[in-house]
């Protein structure tokens, strides 16, 4: 198991045009070094699946500013005027998804379910073009699973196997996305020996994680 990878090498795995899930909620719980390196390597035509587009200069907002995305799937873009500008100018395609539906669609992909039957959005513009399913007289939208080529995950702690532990509201979409992508790259504040994270604190088991971004060497 050779999961530790240098930051630049990890990001080099991601080709232009890839579909990315990025954990985080208004930038909180978004892997900061992976984002900066994506900007540095000048990735283009990516699809972003993320709760929101944060603020300009924060979290995935940096990638919005760098015009890295062809398409964005998110529940909220209201605090990033640049996303709205790109959407209105037709530079970036934006699909808005109710937040609870977004979470379940990502989960459905990761958990091998055919879709999500939710009451959210029934009778609203969100219903347009979607199949509805009646269960015991009640109507639900069938929302399809969302998967990605890569998930970029932010953890509080990782061990060398790749077990991940999250902290407080930085958890958000991270454990769901770590189930729903072909390749999972995790960045952690701290990397600890195997066995340090108690089994009950592991929210993402190591078998889901393909790469852990190595810490930078500190000089001086």
């Amino acid at each position: 198991m050779k999961k530790l990878i240098a930051l630049a090498d990890a990001v080099a795995l991601i080709p232009d045009g890839a579909v990315l899930m990025v954990g985080g909620f208004m930038g909180v719980g978004t892997p900061p070094r992976l984002i900066d390196e994506l900007v540095r390597q000048g990735k283009r035509d990516l699809t972003l699946i993320c709760n929101d587009t944060a603020l300009p200069g924060k979290g995935v907002g940096k990638l919005i500013g760098a015009k890295a995305f062809r398409r964005v799937i998110a529940s909220h873009i209201g605090l990033n005027p640049e996303t709205q500008r790109q959407m209105i100018a037709g530079e970036t395609e934006v699909e808005l998804v109710p937040q609870g539906t977004l979470a379940e669609r990502v989960r459905a992909a990761g958990f091998g379910l055919g879709g999500v039957l939710t009451p959210t959005g029934v009778g609203t513009v969100v219903e347009e073009g979607k199949q509805t399913v009646e269960v015991d007289g009640k109507v639900f939208l069938l929302e399809k699973p969302l998967k990605a080529d890569f998930a970029l995950i932010n953890a509080k702690r990782a061990d060398y196997y790749g077990n991940l532990e999250y902290a407080l509201t930085a958890r958000n979409f991270n454990p769901l996305m770590a189930m729903a992508a072909e390749t999972v790259i995790a960045e952690a504040e701290d990397i600890v020996p195997v066995g340090v994270i108690p089994p009950d604190a592991v929210a993402t088991p190591n078998v889901l994680v393909d790469y852990i971004v190595a810490k930078e060497r500190r000089h001086g």
Binding site: F25, M26, G27, V28, G29, N51, D52, A54, L55, K58, A74, S75, H76, I77, G78, L79, P81, Q84, M87, V94, L96, P98, Q99, G100, T101, L102, A103, E104, R107, T118, P119, T120, G121, V122, G123, T124, V125, V126, K156, Y166, A167, L168, T169, A170, R171, N172, F173, N174, P175, L176, A203
Partner: protein
């Protein structure tokens, strides 16, 4: 007392001991300041915590924020969880009350609060799930904006949900949507029934006795 304080204070009276409550951004967040003494209310932030409280200066934690990304604190007994669980609590009917701002409420008690076509489109965030799933939905908003009533015969803006909201609290009145229509339950201090009717763009059912808000 300014209009927002009035609305927040009136909404706060609806929060019962032990309730799980989610406050939307803007005006609804003010509600937390006016919880009646002796009531212990649990506030959820949909980014993944129950038991949030205001930030503690000098003890901010980058991993502990509200749905706007602003620092908060966690009270003893707080619980943190992922986004699927957060919306399971909301959609599954475990959230006792959500308080949300509104752009329009119509005669059927339906809320529009997430977009104005042709203008900036922020996205619905958690609003559609909150209105579809909470046990009680309370709309907290100004009664009139830019000379137009926000209480209308039929929403012209896109609906947030087809679910009928449970209570509308404005700077002029408390209105309860029912299957018979919108019922005027209370007026704001110093506001007459006639003033409310004149500021409302659809019919209101007016009971014989309409008390003033007891704040």
């Amino acid at each position: 007392m300014d209009e927002k304080t009035l609305i927040a204070k009136r909404v706060a009276l609806e929060l019962a001991d032990g309730n799980l409550v989610n406050l939307g951004i803007g005006l609804p967040t003010l509600v937390a300041r006016y919880i009646p003494a002796g009531r212990h209310v649990f506030f959820q932030s949909e980014n993944g915590i129950i038991g949030m409280s205001g930030p503690i200066a000098g003890a901010e934690n980058p991993d502990l924020t509200d749905a706007g990304g602003n620092p908060i604190s966690a009270l003893p007994g707080a619980a943190a969880f992922d986004s699927a669980m957060s919306f399971g609590l909301i959609r599954g009917g475990h959230l006792d009350i959500t308080v949300l701002g509104g752009l329009q409420v119509d005669e059927e008690g339906r809320l529009a609060n997430w977009m104005v076509p042709g203008k900036m489109v922020p996205g619905m965030g958690g609003a559609m799930d909150l209105v579809s799933g909470a046990k009680r939905v309370i709309v907290a908003m100004q009664h009139v904006a830019k000379g137009e009533s926000k209480i209308v015969k039929r929403c012209t803006l896109p609906l947030t949900s087809v679910r009928r909201v449970d209570l509308v609290v404005t700077d002029l009145a408390v209105i309860e949507p029912t299957d018979k229509g919108l019922v005027l339950k209370e007026t704001a201090p110093g506001v007459t029934v006639e003033q409310v009717l004149a500021s409302t763009a659809c019919e209101l059912i007016v009971p014989a006795d309409v008390p003033a808000m007891a704040l």
